[in-house]
Protein backbone atom coordinates (compact mmCIF):
# COMPACT_ATOMS: atom_id res chain seq x y z
CA UNK A 1 0.00 0.00 0.00
CA UNK A 2 1.34 3.40 -0.94
CA UNK A 3 0.86 6.60 0.96
CA UNK A 4 -1.67 7.81 -1.53
CA UNK A 5 -3.80 4.85 -2.43
CA UNK A 6 -4.97 1.53 -1.07
CA UNK A 7 -5.59 -1.42 -3.34
CA UNK A 8 -9.21 -1.62 -2.30
CA UNK A 9 -11.38 0.53 -4.62
CA UNK A 10 -13.82 1.11 -1.70
CA UNK A 11 -11.08 1.99 0.79
CA UNK A 12 -9.82 5.44 1.60
CA UNK A 13 -6.46 7.06 1.15
CA UNK A 14 -4.35 7.95 4.14
CA UNK A 15 -4.92 11.58 3.28
CA UNK A 16 -8.68 11.06 3.35
CA UNK A 17 -8.39 9.29 6.68
CA UNK A 18 -6.38 12.19 8.10
CA UNK A 19 -8.94 14.64 6.78
CA UNK A 20 -11.84 12.74 8.36
CA UNK A 21 -9.95 12.51 11.62
CA UNK A 22 -9.27 16.24 11.52
CA UNK A 23 -12.95 17.06 11.01
CA UNK A 24 -13.95 14.67 13.78
CA UNK A 25 -11.35 16.21 16.07
CA UNK A 26 -12.54 19.70 15.22
CA UNK A 27 -16.11 18.70 16.05
CA UNK A 28 -14.99 17.29 19.41
CA UNK A 29 -12.93 20.38 20.27
CA UNK A 30 -15.74 22.75 19.27
CA UNK A 31 -18.23 20.67 21.26
CA UNK A 32 -16.08 20.87 24.38
CA UNK A 33 -15.56 24.61 23.99
CA UNK A 34 -19.25 25.22 23.20
CA UNK A 35 -20.32 23.03 26.10
CA UNK A 36 -18.12 24.99 28.49
CA UNK A 37 -19.52 28.31 27.20
CA UNK A 38 -23.16 27.15 27.48
CA UNK A 39 -22.49 25.71 30.92
CA UNK A 40 -21.00 29.03 32.07
CA UNK A 41 -23.99 30.93 30.69
CA UNK A 42 -26.28 28.56 32.60
CA UNK A 43 -24.38 29.10 35.82
CA UNK A 44 -24.33 32.87 35.44
CA UNK A 45 -28.08 32.90 34.67
CA UNK A 46 -28.74 30.95 37.85
CA UNK A 47 -26.68 33.32 39.98
CA UNK A 48 -27.63 36.61 38.39
CA UNK A 49 -30.92 38.33 39.06
CA UNK A 50 -33.54 38.35 36.37
CA UNK A 51 -33.33 41.70 34.60
CA UNK A 52 -35.83 44.10 35.99
CA UNK A 53 -38.55 45.33 33.72
CA UNK A 54 -38.20 48.85 32.37
CA UNK A 55 -41.51 49.95 33.76
CA UNK A 56 -42.25 50.27 37.44
CA UNK A 57 -43.82 47.04 38.70
CA UNK A 58 -47.54 47.15 39.39
CA UNK A 59 -47.08 44.44 41.97
CA UNK A 60 -44.21 42.95 43.92
CA UNK A 61 -44.48 39.92 46.11
CA UNK A 62 -42.22 37.31 47.66
CA UNK A 63 -42.39 33.54 47.65
CA UNK A 64 -40.86 31.44 50.41
CA UNK A 65 -41.19 27.71 50.72
CA UNK A 66 -40.51 24.56 52.66
CA UNK A 67 -39.45 25.97 56.01
CA UNK A 68 -40.02 22.56 57.68
CA UNK A 69 -40.19 24.08 61.15
CA UNK A 70 -39.46 21.23 63.58
CA UNK A 71 -37.05 19.37 61.31
CA UNK A 72 -33.91 18.30 63.09
CA UNK A 73 -31.30 16.43 61.10
CA UNK A 74 -27.74 16.73 59.85
CA UNK A 75 -28.90 18.50 56.67
CA UNK A 76 -29.89 21.51 58.83
CA UNK A 77 -29.86 21.46 62.61
CA UNK A 78 -31.30 24.98 62.79
CA UNK A 79 -34.24 25.30 60.38
CA UNK A 80 -35.83 27.90 62.65
CA UNK A 81 -32.74 30.08 62.36
CA UNK A 82 -32.50 29.83 58.57
CA UNK A 83 -36.23 30.61 58.31
CA UNK A 84 -35.71 33.64 60.57
CA UNK A 85 -32.84 34.73 58.30
CA UNK A 86 -35.17 34.47 55.30
CA UNK A 87 -37.72 36.64 57.09
CA UNK A 88 -35.01 39.20 57.94
CA UNK A 89 -33.98 39.20 54.31
CA UNK A 90 -37.52 39.93 53.16
CA UNK A 91 -37.90 42.66 55.79
CA UNK A 92 -34.67 44.24 54.56
CA UNK A 93 -35.92 44.57 50.98
CA UNK A 94 -35.93 48.16 49.69
CA UNK A 95 -39.69 47.90 49.11
CA UNK A 96 -42.61 46.45 50.99
CA UNK A 97 -43.93 43.38 49.15
CA UNK A 98 -47.68 43.37 48.50
CA UNK A 99 -47.77 39.94 50.06
CA UNK A 100 -45.61 37.00 51.01
CA UNK A 101 -46.66 33.53 49.87
CA UNK A 102 -45.41 30.43 51.65
CA UNK A 103 -45.84 27.48 49.25
CA UNK A 104 -46.11 24.76 51.83
CA UNK A 105 -44.36 22.46 54.24
CA UNK A 106 -44.47 25.23 56.78
CA UNK A 107 -43.95 22.59 59.46
CA UNK A 108 -42.18 19.28 59.41
CA UNK A 109 -44.60 17.14 61.41
CA UNK A 110 -47.69 19.37 61.65
CA UNK A 111 -47.78 19.52 65.44
CA UNK A 112 -49.71 22.40 67.05
CA UNK A 113 -46.45 23.77 68.48
CA UNK A 114 -44.81 23.82 65.08
CA UNK A 115 -47.80 25.55 63.48
CA UNK A 116 -47.86 28.06 66.32
CA UNK A 117 -44.14 28.74 65.94
CA UNK A 118 -44.23 29.22 62.17
CA UNK A 119 -47.29 31.47 62.41
CA UNK A 120 -45.60 33.64 65.03
CA UNK A 121 -42.45 33.87 62.95
CA UNK A 122 -44.39 34.82 59.82
CA UNK A 123 -46.26 37.52 61.76
CA UNK A 124 -42.92 39.36 61.83
CA UNK A 125 -42.96 39.76 58.04
CA UNK A 126 -43.24 43.39 56.97
CA UNK A 127 -46.00 42.93 54.46
CA UNK A 128 -49.71 43.59 54.24
CA UNK A 129 -50.73 40.01 53.60
CA UNK A 130 -49.32 36.55 54.27
CA UNK A 131 -50.66 33.69 52.15
CA UNK A 132 -50.02 29.97 52.41
CA UNK A 133 -50.75 26.66 50.75
CA UNK A 134 -50.30 23.40 52.65
CA UNK A 135 -47.54 20.89 51.95
CA UNK A 136 -47.81 17.20 52.69
CA UNK A 137 -45.84 17.79 55.91
CA UNK A 138 -48.63 20.12 57.06
CA UNK A 139 -51.19 17.32 57.05
CA UNK A 140 -49.20 14.40 58.36
CA UNK A 141 -51.84 12.85 60.62
CA UNK A 142 -55.06 14.78 60.06
CA UNK A 143 -55.38 15.61 56.35
CA UNK A 144 -54.69 19.27 57.09
CA UNK A 145 -57.19 19.90 59.89
CA UNK A 146 -54.63 21.63 62.13
CA UNK A 147 -53.24 23.53 59.13
CA UNK A 148 -56.69 24.94 58.45
CA UNK A 149 -57.12 25.91 62.12
CA UNK A 150 -54.03 28.08 61.84
CA UNK A 151 -54.07 29.18 58.19
CA UNK A 152 -57.45 28.18 56.75
CA UNK A 153 -59.41 31.36 57.40
CA UNK A 154 -61.26 32.47 54.28
CA UNK A 155 -60.44 29.32 52.33
CA UNK A 156 -62.68 26.68 50.85
CA UNK A 157 -62.62 22.87 50.88
CA UNK A 158 -59.22 21.59 51.95
CA UNK A 159 -57.82 25.12 51.96
CA UNK A 160 -57.98 26.37 48.38
CA UNK A 161 -58.88 29.97 47.55
CA UNK A 162 -58.27 32.80 45.12
CA UNK A 163 -57.99 36.56 45.19
CA UNK A 164 -57.38 39.49 42.86
CA UNK A 165 -54.70 42.13 43.16
CA UNK A 166 -53.42 44.73 40.68
CA UNK A 167 -55.33 43.06 37.85
CA UNK A 168 -53.78 39.66 38.52
CA UNK A 169 -55.90 36.69 39.57
CA UNK A 170 -54.10 34.59 42.17
CA UNK A 171 -55.13 30.99 42.83
CA UNK A 172 -53.92 28.85 45.75
CA UNK A 173 -54.42 25.15 45.14
CA UNK A 174 -54.08 22.24 47.54
CA UNK A 175 -52.53 19.17 45.93
CA UNK A 176 -51.02 17.47 48.97
CA UNK A 177 -53.78 16.24 51.21
CA UNK A 178 -54.99 13.35 49.06
CA UNK A 179 -51.39 12.40 48.58
CA UNK A 180 -50.59 8.86 47.57
CA UNK A 181 -47.78 8.54 45.07
CA UNK A 182 -47.96 12.11 43.75
CA UNK A 183 -49.93 15.33 43.99
CA UNK A 184 -53.70 15.25 43.58
CA UNK A 185 -56.28 18.02 43.31
CA UNK A 186 -59.53 16.07 43.31
CA UNK A 187 -62.86 16.63 41.59
CA UNK A 188 -64.25 19.14 44.12
CA UNK A 189 -61.25 21.44 43.77
CA UNK A 190 -61.17 21.07 39.98
CA UNK A 191 -64.84 22.03 39.76
CA UNK A 192 -64.20 25.00 42.04
CA UNK A 193 -61.29 26.06 39.82
CA UNK A 194 -63.39 25.79 36.66
CA UNK A 195 -66.03 28.08 38.16
CA UNK A 196 -63.43 30.40 39.70
CA UNK A 197 -61.85 31.33 36.38
CA UNK A 198 -65.02 31.10 34.24
CA UNK A 199 -65.91 34.78 34.69
CA UNK A 200 -62.42 36.13 33.98
CA UNK A 201 -61.49 37.73 30.67
CA UNK A 202 -58.82 35.92 28.68
CA UNK A 203 -56.31 38.74 29.03
CA UNK A 204 -56.22 38.40 32.83
CA UNK A 205 -52.82 37.37 34.16
CA UNK A 206 -53.11 34.22 36.24
CA UNK A 207 -50.72 33.14 38.99
CA UNK A 208 -51.25 29.70 40.52
CA UNK A 209 -49.61 28.58 43.76
CA UNK A 210 -49.33 24.95 44.81
CA UNK A 211 -46.96 22.91 46.90
CA UNK A 212 -46.27 19.99 44.55
CA UNK A 213 -45.42 20.93 40.94
CA UNK A 214 -48.37 21.02 38.55
CA UNK A 215 -46.05 19.69 35.83
CA UNK A 216 -44.27 16.34 35.63
CA UNK A 217 -40.95 17.39 37.10
CA UNK A 218 -40.06 13.86 38.18
CA UNK A 219 -43.06 11.57 38.52
CA UNK A 220 -40.98 8.68 39.87
CA UNK A 221 -40.47 10.66 43.08
CA UNK A 222 -44.03 11.98 43.12
CA UNK A 223 -42.90 15.40 41.85
CA UNK A 224 -45.99 15.75 39.73
CA UNK A 225 -49.76 16.15 40.09
CA UNK A 226 -51.83 13.37 38.57
CA UNK A 227 -54.86 15.47 37.60
CA UNK A 228 -53.12 18.76 36.79
CA UNK A 229 -53.83 18.38 33.06
CA UNK A 230 -57.50 19.03 33.74
CA UNK A 231 -56.71 22.01 35.96
CA UNK A 232 -54.44 23.50 33.31
CA UNK A 233 -57.07 22.94 30.62
CA UNK A 234 -59.24 25.53 32.42
CA UNK A 235 -56.36 27.99 32.15
CA UNK A 236 -55.51 27.40 28.49
CA UNK A 237 -57.44 30.42 27.20
CA UNK A 238 -55.46 32.89 29.30
CA UNK A 239 -52.53 34.65 27.71
CA UNK A 240 -50.29 34.41 30.74
CA UNK A 241 -50.32 31.70 33.39
CA UNK A 242 -47.53 31.39 35.94
CA UNK A 243 -47.39 28.43 38.32
CA UNK A 244 -45.21 28.75 41.41
CA UNK A 245 -44.57 25.72 43.58
CA UNK A 246 -42.33 24.40 46.34
CA UNK A 247 -41.81 20.78 47.47
CA UNK A 248 -38.70 20.01 45.40
CA UNK A 249 -36.35 22.29 47.38
CA UNK A 250 -34.57 23.53 44.25
CA UNK A 251 -34.98 25.98 41.41
CA UNK A 252 -36.50 24.69 38.21
CA UNK A 253 -38.27 26.32 35.28
CA UNK A 254 -40.38 24.86 32.54
CA UNK A 255 -42.72 26.29 29.90
CA UNK A 256 -45.63 24.40 28.39
CA UNK A 257 -47.60 26.50 25.93
CA UNK A 258 -49.00 29.54 27.75
CA UNK A 259 -47.97 28.22 31.17
CA UNK A 260 -44.62 28.78 32.84
CA UNK A 261 -43.75 26.72 35.90
CA UNK A 262 -41.23 27.80 38.51
CA UNK A 263 -40.16 25.57 41.37
CA UNK A 264 -38.74 27.40 44.37
CA UNK A 265 -35.94 26.51 46.70
CA UNK A 266 -36.34 26.03 50.44
CA UNK A 267 -35.33 27.78 53.63
CA UNK A 268 -34.57 24.43 55.33
CA UNK A 269 -32.41 21.90 53.47
CA UNK A 270 -31.70 20.86 49.87
CA UNK A 271 -33.00 17.75 48.15
CA UNK A 272 -31.14 15.88 45.39
CA UNK A 273 -31.60 16.71 41.74
CA UNK A 274 -34.32 14.64 40.08
CA UNK A 275 -33.15 11.05 39.73
CA UNK A 276 -29.90 11.66 41.57
CA UNK A 277 -30.09 8.79 44.02
CA UNK A 278 -32.84 6.35 44.97
CA UNK A 279 -35.09 8.79 46.84
CA UNK A 280 -35.49 12.52 47.58
CA UNK A 281 -33.91 12.50 51.03
CA UNK A 282 -32.34 15.59 52.66
CA UNK A 283 -28.88 16.37 51.34
CA UNK A 284 -26.19 17.27 53.84
CA UNK A 285 -23.86 19.80 52.27
CA UNK A 286 -20.28 20.50 53.35
CA UNK A 287 -19.89 23.03 56.16
CA UNK A 288 -20.55 26.57 55.00
CA UNK A 289 -22.37 25.53 51.82
CA UNK A 290 -25.92 25.23 53.17
CA UNK A 291 -26.91 28.88 52.77
CA UNK A 292 -26.09 28.82 49.06
CA UNK A 293 -28.82 26.18 48.57
CA UNK A 294 -31.47 28.13 50.50
CA UNK A 295 -33.26 31.30 49.51
CA UNK A 296 -36.34 33.35 48.77
CA UNK A 297 -37.91 34.52 45.53
CA UNK A 298 -38.90 38.04 44.59
CA UNK A 299 -41.60 38.36 41.93
CA UNK A 300 -42.40 41.49 39.94
CA UNK A 301 -45.47 41.94 37.81
CA UNK A 302 -45.55 44.74 35.26
CA UNK A 303 -48.84 45.51 33.57
CA UNK A 304 -48.67 44.66 29.88
CA UNK A 305 -45.81 42.17 30.34
CA UNK A 306 -47.03 38.64 29.85
CA UNK A 307 -44.33 37.07 31.99
CA UNK A 308 -43.58 37.80 35.60
CA UNK A 309 -40.01 38.76 36.43
CA UNK A 310 -38.53 36.43 39.03
CA UNK A 311 -35.43 36.91 41.07
CA UNK A 312 -34.21 34.04 43.22
CA UNK A 313 -32.01 35.28 46.04
CA UNK A 314 -29.75 33.02 48.03
CA UNK A 315 -29.75 33.22 51.79
CA UNK A 316 -26.69 35.14 52.91
Amino acid sequence: MTDAQTNDPHGMTRRQLLRHTAWFGSAVVLTVVGGEVISQIGNSNAAAPVPAANDAPALRFVQISDSHIGFNGPANMMVEQTFAEAIDMINALPYRPAFVMHTGDLTHLSTPDQFDQVKQMMSELKTSEVHTVPGEHDGVDDKGAKYRQFFGKGTQGAGWYSWDMAGVHFISLVNTLGLESMGHLGTDQLEWLRKDVAHLSSDTSIVVFSHIPLFAMYAKWGWSTDDSVQALSYLKRFASVTCLNGHVHQLFTKTEGNVTFFSATTTAYPLPKPGDGPAPTPVTLPAGKLHSALGVREVNYVKGNERLALKDVRLT
Partner: protein, 133 residues
Protein backbone atom coordinates in the same frame (compact mmCIF):
# COMPACT_ATOMS: atom_id res chain seq x y z
CA UNK B 1 -19.16 22.02 -6.26
CA UNK B 2 -22.73 21.74 -7.34
CA UNK B 3 -25.10 24.40 -6.11
CA UNK B 4 -27.57 21.68 -5.11
CA UNK B 5 -25.00 20.03 -2.82
CA UNK B 6 -24.12 23.32 -1.20
CA UNK B 7 -27.75 24.15 -0.59
CA UNK B 8 -28.42 20.70 0.87
CA UNK B 9 -25.44 21.05 3.19
CA UNK B 10 -26.48 24.51 4.38
CA UNK B 11 -30.05 23.39 5.08
CA UNK B 12 -28.63 20.40 6.97
CA UNK B 13 -26.44 22.78 9.00
CA UNK B 14 -29.52 24.90 9.75
CA UNK B 15 -31.48 21.83 10.95
CA UNK B 16 -28.60 20.71 13.16
CA UNK B 17 -28.20 24.25 14.54
CA UNK B 18 -31.96 24.27 15.21
CA UNK B 19 -31.65 21.12 17.28
CA UNK B 20 -28.74 22.70 19.10
CA UNK B 21 -30.71 25.86 19.77
CA UNK B 22 -33.73 23.98 21.19
CA UNK B 23 -31.61 21.78 23.46
CA UNK B 24 -29.48 24.71 24.63
CA UNK B 25 -32.57 26.80 25.34
CA UNK B 26 -34.13 24.00 27.40
CA UNK B 27 -30.82 23.36 29.16
CA UNK B 28 -30.50 27.02 30.16
CA UNK B 29 -34.14 27.25 31.22
CA UNK B 30 -34.34 24.49 33.76
CA UNK B 31 -33.32 21.15 32.28
CA UNK B 32 -29.73 21.56 33.45
CA UNK B 33 -30.96 20.63 36.93
CA UNK B 34 -32.12 17.17 35.91
CA UNK B 35 -29.85 14.23 36.53
CA UNK B 36 -28.42 12.81 33.24
CA UNK B 37 -30.94 14.82 31.18
CA UNK B 38 -29.13 18.11 31.86
CA UNK B 39 -25.68 16.92 30.71
CA UNK B 40 -27.18 15.10 27.71
CA UNK B 41 -28.99 18.29 26.62
CA UNK B 42 -25.74 20.20 27.05
CA UNK B 43 -23.89 17.64 24.93
CA UNK B 44 -26.58 17.68 22.24
CA UNK B 45 -26.66 21.48 22.21
CA UNK B 46 -22.91 21.99 22.07
CA UNK B 47 -22.33 19.09 19.69
CA UNK B 48 -25.04 20.26 17.31
CA UNK B 49 -23.68 23.80 17.17
CA UNK B 50 -20.17 22.48 16.56
CA UNK B 51 -21.27 20.20 13.71
CA UNK B 52 -23.48 22.90 12.22
CA UNK B 53 -20.58 25.37 12.10
CA UNK B 54 -18.22 22.83 10.54
CA UNK B 55 -20.83 21.79 7.97
CA UNK B 56 -20.71 25.33 6.59
CA UNK B 57 -17.07 24.75 5.61
CA UNK B 58 -17.03 21.09 4.69
CA UNK B 59 -19.16 18.35 3.23
CA UNK B 60 -17.15 15.70 5.06
CA UNK B 61 -19.10 12.44 5.49
CA UNK B 62 -17.82 12.33 9.07
CA UNK B 63 -19.68 15.56 9.82
CA UNK B 64 -22.83 14.34 8.11
CA UNK B 65 -22.68 11.10 10.11
CA UNK B 66 -22.17 13.08 13.32
CA UNK B 67 -25.20 15.20 12.40
CA UNK B 68 -27.23 12.03 11.86
CA UNK B 69 -25.98 10.58 15.14
CA UNK B 70 -26.95 13.67 17.11
CA UNK B 71 -30.39 13.82 15.50
CA UNK B 72 -31.01 10.09 15.99
CA UNK B 73 -29.82 10.28 19.60
CA UNK B 74 -32.12 13.19 20.35
CA UNK B 75 -35.07 11.39 18.71
CA UNK B 76 -34.27 8.25 20.71
CA UNK B 77 -34.22 10.21 23.97
CA UNK B 78 -37.46 11.95 23.00
CA UNK B 79 -39.15 8.60 22.33
CA UNK B 80 -37.94 7.08 25.59
CA UNK B 81 -39.10 10.11 27.60
CA UNK B 82 -42.62 9.65 26.16
CA UNK B 83 -42.74 5.90 26.72
CA UNK B 84 -40.70 4.02 29.32
CA UNK B 85 -38.83 7.07 30.61
CA UNK B 86 -35.26 8.22 30.10
CA UNK B 87 -33.30 7.74 33.34
CA UNK B 88 -36.59 8.19 35.17
CA UNK B 89 -37.49 11.38 33.30
CA UNK B 90 -40.86 11.42 31.55
CA UNK B 91 -42.78 14.01 29.56
CA UNK B 92 -46.06 13.90 27.71
CA UNK B 93 -46.93 14.68 24.11
CA UNK B 94 -45.34 17.65 22.41
CA UNK B 95 -44.44 19.40 25.63
CA UNK B 96 -42.67 21.64 26.28
CA UNK B 97 -44.24 23.60 23.44
CA UNK B 98 -43.13 24.71 20.97
CA UNK B 99 -39.64 23.32 21.63
CA UNK B 100 -40.60 19.64 21.43
CA UNK B 101 -42.26 19.99 18.01
CA UNK B 102 -39.48 22.20 16.64
CA UNK B 103 -36.86 19.75 17.82
CA UNK B 104 -38.69 16.84 16.18
CA UNK B 105 -38.92 18.69 12.87
CA UNK B 106 -35.24 19.68 12.94
CA UNK B 107 -34.12 16.14 13.77
CA UNK B 108 -36.29 14.35 11.23
CA UNK B 109 -35.22 16.95 8.65
CA UNK B 110 -31.55 16.42 9.48
CA UNK B 111 -31.85 12.64 9.17
CA UNK B 112 -33.65 12.93 5.84
CA UNK B 113 -31.05 15.34 4.46
CA UNK B 114 -28.16 13.14 5.55
CA UNK B 115 -29.83 10.17 3.86
CA UNK B 116 -30.31 12.19 0.67
CA UNK B 117 -26.68 13.36 0.77
CA UNK B 118 -25.45 9.75 0.77
CA UNK B 119 -27.63 8.63 -2.15
CA UNK B 120 -25.08 9.58 -4.89
CA UNK B 121 -22.27 7.82 -3.00
CA UNK B 122 -24.30 4.66 -2.64
CA UNK B 123 -25.34 4.72 -6.30
CA UNK B 124 -21.71 5.19 -7.35
CA UNK B 125 -20.61 2.31 -5.12
CA UNK B 126 -23.28 0.05 -6.60
CA UNK B 127 -22.27 0.98 -10.15
CA UNK B 128 -18.60 0.29 -9.34
CA UNK B 129 -19.35 -3.13 -7.89
CA UNK B 130 -21.52 -4.06 -10.91
CA UNK B 131 -18.73 -3.02 -13.31
CA UNK B 132 -16.14 -4.93 -11.26
CA UNK B 133 -18.26 -8.09 -11.56
Amino acid sequence: MKMKDLLLRLVLAACVAGTGWVHTDLYLNGYRSIHVIGPSFLLTGAGSFAVAVLLIFSNSPVLRLLAAGLAAGALFGFTLSRTVGFFGFTETGLNPAPQALLSLLFEVGALALVAVSFVPVMMKARTTSVVAR
